[in-house]
Symmetry: D2
Subunit: 385 residues, 4 copies
């Protein structure tokens, strides 16, 4: 039977940033329906949110535990299929675990949780349940990022030798958290954010993007983490040297004190025969650089783009797609997997091309390695999983 994917949400009360983004991304293609939520630990916020979202008040719950329990009891034709978790980092692990153990698929904001230890538990739960967990490393949802991965994998650049990735923001150049700004407040507080500040919030995105496009895994790093703004406990700035398992080396920069930068995620890779460049702020262009022929500018939606990228494209070339479309692509990949699951297929997440629990685990290992490296006098820290 043809039905929409029914989704419940944990977090994302009115005024939250990423919750609204998830909802728009889920809504865009008309095949996912928000049916319930536990939007806030404050009952009135949750209620007001549900109301603003046109939800049945009965399905606006005071807590994720209530939601999962109550939904479980609903008839299959009404019951949600999946839970979207959009809370701060410290509230990813428990709802994800409970949802999976209760038979619900999960799509969760990054980073996956607070530690490698938690991540390993989630890996186990996912495996045991056979259910689907998608992690919203949004940036791998862009068509041109998928094209980049495909091109690297095709060998046109030869063996990849260098990977330079940076994620520079400026919004924390001043102690914004002291003004009561919510986004800044929880991100700079280890209780909600975990071990990592900038490296958790944006460094994991950069590391994930580098691994996704290069098709290689970071095996070691030498990091310099700083709390540039006085009074911060967590890093707001990181620079590091990288090693990859294919022999490539590189540099990763993640900073939130680059005053004047917006959301400048930028990656370049160079192989023996050429290189590529992609910038999130102009996401519909992918630049290929060659020593012996003109630079090529691949553009989203053009006829010569691969089927892989086209699958994640909604408009003809020159009709720019953006962040919400990339985000929606993660939701659509997740939805395709859930649909196949419902029809009884066994799910191999690689096939659906969404970031999964293993990516989440590597993200946690990345954070822990950064923190360790920055504290030690030796140069390199290996990452082993």
């Amino acid at each position: 039977m043809n039905e929409k994917l029914r989704m419940g949400m944990v977090g994302g009360g009115l005024g939250a940033f990423i919750g609204a983004v998830h909802r728009k991304a889920a809504a865009l293609d008309g095949n996912i329906e928000l049916v319930c939520g536990a939007f806030s630990s404050k009952a009135e916020t949750s209620t007001a949110t549900g109301n603003a979202l046109f939800l049945d008040p009965k399905r606006v719950y005071p807590s994720y535990v209530d939601m999962i329990r109550a939904e479980k009891k609903l008839p299959a034709s009404q019951r949600m299929h999946a839970v979207s978790i959009v809370t701060p980092n410290h509230l990813h692990f428990a709802p994800a675990k409970l949802a999976l153990e209760s038979g619900f698929h999960v799509i969760v904001d990054k980073p996956l949780c607070l530690s490698v230890a938690e991540a390993r538990q989630l890996v186990k739960v996912v495996k045991k349940s056979g259910l689907i967990l998608a992690l919203t490393h949004t940036y791998t949802g862009y068509p041109m990022v998928k094209e980049a991965r495909r091109l690297v994998s095709s060998g046109v650049f030869g063996k990849i030798r260098k990977v330079y990735v940076e994620y520079t923001q400026g919004w924390l150049a001043q102690p914004l958290e002291k003004t009561g700004q919510k986004q800044a407040a929880w991100r700079s507080n280890p209780k909600f954010s975990g071990l990592g500040g900038a490296i958790g919030d944006i460094g994991t995105h950069a590391a994930n993007l580098a691994e996704y496009i290069s098709g290689s895994v970071i095996t070691g790093l030498c990091a310099d983490l700083r709390a540039v703004v006085k009074g911060r406990v967590l890093d707001d700035d990181a620079s590091m040297l990288l090693n990859f398992d294919n022999g490539a080396s590189g540099v990763l920069i993640a900073t939130q004190v680059a005053a004047g930068e917006e959301n400048n995620l930028f990656i370049r890779l160079y192989g023996e025969k050429g290189g590529l460049e992609w910038r999130q702020e102009e996401p519909n262009t992918l630049v290929l650089k060659w020593p012996d022929r003109p630079r090529e500018f691949y553009r989203t939606g053009m006829g010569y783009i691969s089927e892989t990228a086209k699958l994640h494209t909604r408009t003809p070339s020159g009709h720019p797609e953006g962040y919400l479309e990339a985000f929606a692509n993660v939701y659509q990949s997740f939805a395709r997997a859930v649909t196949d699951f419902k029809s009884g297929k066994k799910i191999d997440s690689a096939k659906y091309d969404f970031p999964d629990v293993e990516d989440g685990l590597r993200g946690m290992a990345f954070i822990e390695a950064c923190v360790k490296s920055s504290k030690q006098k030796q140069k390199w820290v290996p990452i082993k999983l």
Copy 2:
């Protein structure tokens, strides 16, 4: 009572281009619901479309006439509020007229209809009904276009002297219509497209954008229209000199034979004290040029952007928004007006900042003036309304 705006659709069967765009644009913000449709003149296509869209089969109608009649009889709590018309040009007028006369608001793709005469009728119907008609000149939905209009209107550039606008595409550089490509076929056929080829399809967008940002109206033009590709009846290429009612002059280019161009809508205005530049393919940047100080790059989502533009922005700066978000902004403006209408307010479309029936009328006058000018030996053709 808090309810979604319920929308019916005319046209947009599976495989159509602009119908899917309208649906995504309407769905994005979660407050508009597609409840019914007459998607195609072919019954099976309409049914298949309704099914793919998860619609109640009873509300998938064989024709727009059926849809309007049937919906009118439904209880107010179920009945659609508005009709979205996404058919080729020749099928805008009749459904729009019937819908308005039947008490439904209308949102219709551009150009408004096939002639100034039809447009004048629609102006009358809108006035008489007191209902809302929005025209999807998508490009005025971009936040940076709204910012541009605001800046011009604020006087920072002084009196506007020059307006250069172009819309260059390359997809019709070859006789694509002969291959059976549907989009090319109807656009190059006067029966479906009307008097204008490129000038109707994209020239009206360019003219509308120029008038929107400049706050002035085109009063005359001197046009050179061509059917560059052999065998075409309608123009696929146009260049013209322009006059504006504030004394400014300018140039408008609209071509679909600029091989290699995508969807390059590009506008520049210059006043006594400075100028601005905006390009649709990189829509989140607005360039301000000054003789006596550095160029300024305004960026969507930054704190210094006006409230007007922020109202039409969904993500923080550096998280690029695109064509679908601009399109969704037209839908949201329309939805705000409908909501106010429901609460009994009288609607002044200028206040809601969506292109309306008067813009549609001017678009038709623009097309007719272009065709007239191109055929005559005299230089200028006035546009009077």
Copy 3:
């Protein structure tokens, strides 16, 4: 015998703009030596200029007539070979004519002179003398412009259908000539500038560039010339529709009131199979646009660039060349022709790839056609030569 090309200069006294540019362009490659000059109608300015340029005071002359007469009497081993004329427009014709008639080659700033009638005379004098006249349409000196011409001529774009060229500046957006600024003063005075304001000063550059790259000749135009700034006699702004002899059509914009623009000469051509784009302010990149494969960015100095362009390149790729190098390329082409002339060869200017007296004649015809078109009510004015 190996000797430098010895050059005399008419105009270019201290404080003049284009004279210093000519001198740097001539000096860059070390094979052209300024040996004498009549730099100003004011004796003391001429003397001071000669002194600042380390010239022998005996060869600093009070007038171009004196210079040409005196140099003619010097022994061949000392005598200048060529005259560089860098005066305002009204002082191009007479010195050029006298120099040629006295046996000296000429390199002269654009536009060639004040009228088609004068230009025709110069064409005759050049033919009769067999000597070389080069016109400094600087912008055709850029390597990427030469590459563009070569690519068009190679047929990779198919038949050219559209030519869009613009030259937008902002420096005359205010009545600068009233402040005593010399450059503005003579350019806005018909006595020194001739019939054309902006169309003479920059429009001729744009027209020349369009003809050079397209390999076609403008055969007709429909122009709208304006004196936007109050009190101006000559045009400071022009827009026009164009026809070319190969059947292409296009648009030319030349304005000096685009407040905030610098020196924005920008050209695009589209053929049946693709197009190209070049912008003078970023001159080392040439963009090729294709419907069916990625855009290509050709870059000065790269290995894949043609020999034609490489001949006019001094540095490896990524070491940007600019305006002075382009200017120097015109001088070097001129110098190559002079060297060949000295060795007894007959000179075919096309072979040396510098703008010549015929280009100058076409420029004058362009100006006269613009002025005529702007005054008449009929649409098109043909250009016949």
Copy 4:
């Protein structure tokens, strides 16, 4: 008395790359004259070069020692004033030392010499002689680099916190030195190049630029040097973390195996209140980024640019200047100092704004620190001078 600066050259025989660049840079402004040279260790190459450069054959010498000795004996009115040294790295020290000890000013290509020890000797000789030594770190000659330094120093960005500089090239992505290409051959040979490969050739430029703009000195680094192409002895690739004496930290990348890159020197700095960005390949634009107002694009030649930068600008805005003009700016600063020296002034090189022997010493220390860091297991190596 008004005379040109007379220059002799060591190295730069026909076919050499940087010698021709030096000659054009010196010639551009018409106040420096090449009067003699020892262009090659091969007599016939030196002779042919002198001939091609229109030199008096008597002043084309078989060796720099001969040149310096012979010129010393010429009358002051003919004798060269300065020596330009454009040989490979291993031949900088001896001619520079001898020239200074013989009373000639020196302008020498970078890096200064082969070791900190040599550099310290040159520092002493310069001090003792009171003569001028300029080092051609070309990139600090660009007007927008000077503007950047001025802006940082003015405090508009607040305290500088982050410095990211990179110099990526691709020309050594393959073992070009094995093909007999001269530039690649000597650069990859420690005998001619010294301890450093990429870090000496381009890393020193990047480090110098970072120090010049930031006004701070690198105090420590943690480097990863690699010979990516098999068989290389010297590094062709380097990445490193940096510390500066003002408390800033940063990253420096210097690689010659970034296949497809040209000459991509790129720098960004971020202070408490904003940041800047400059890219050598588009050198006439300097981007200022602000959290609370639009990005500003400073452009060479505009009226609002500082006098400091204007002093190093030759053309009006929009007439792009490039690499040769930047190079010529180093020569002009050097020439100004020599002129003042001749008039008896004591020379403070900071005043003339050219890279001097102290910059050269810091460059050598940078190379040695990189090599040391890359070999050790500890993270940081201090740079102390």
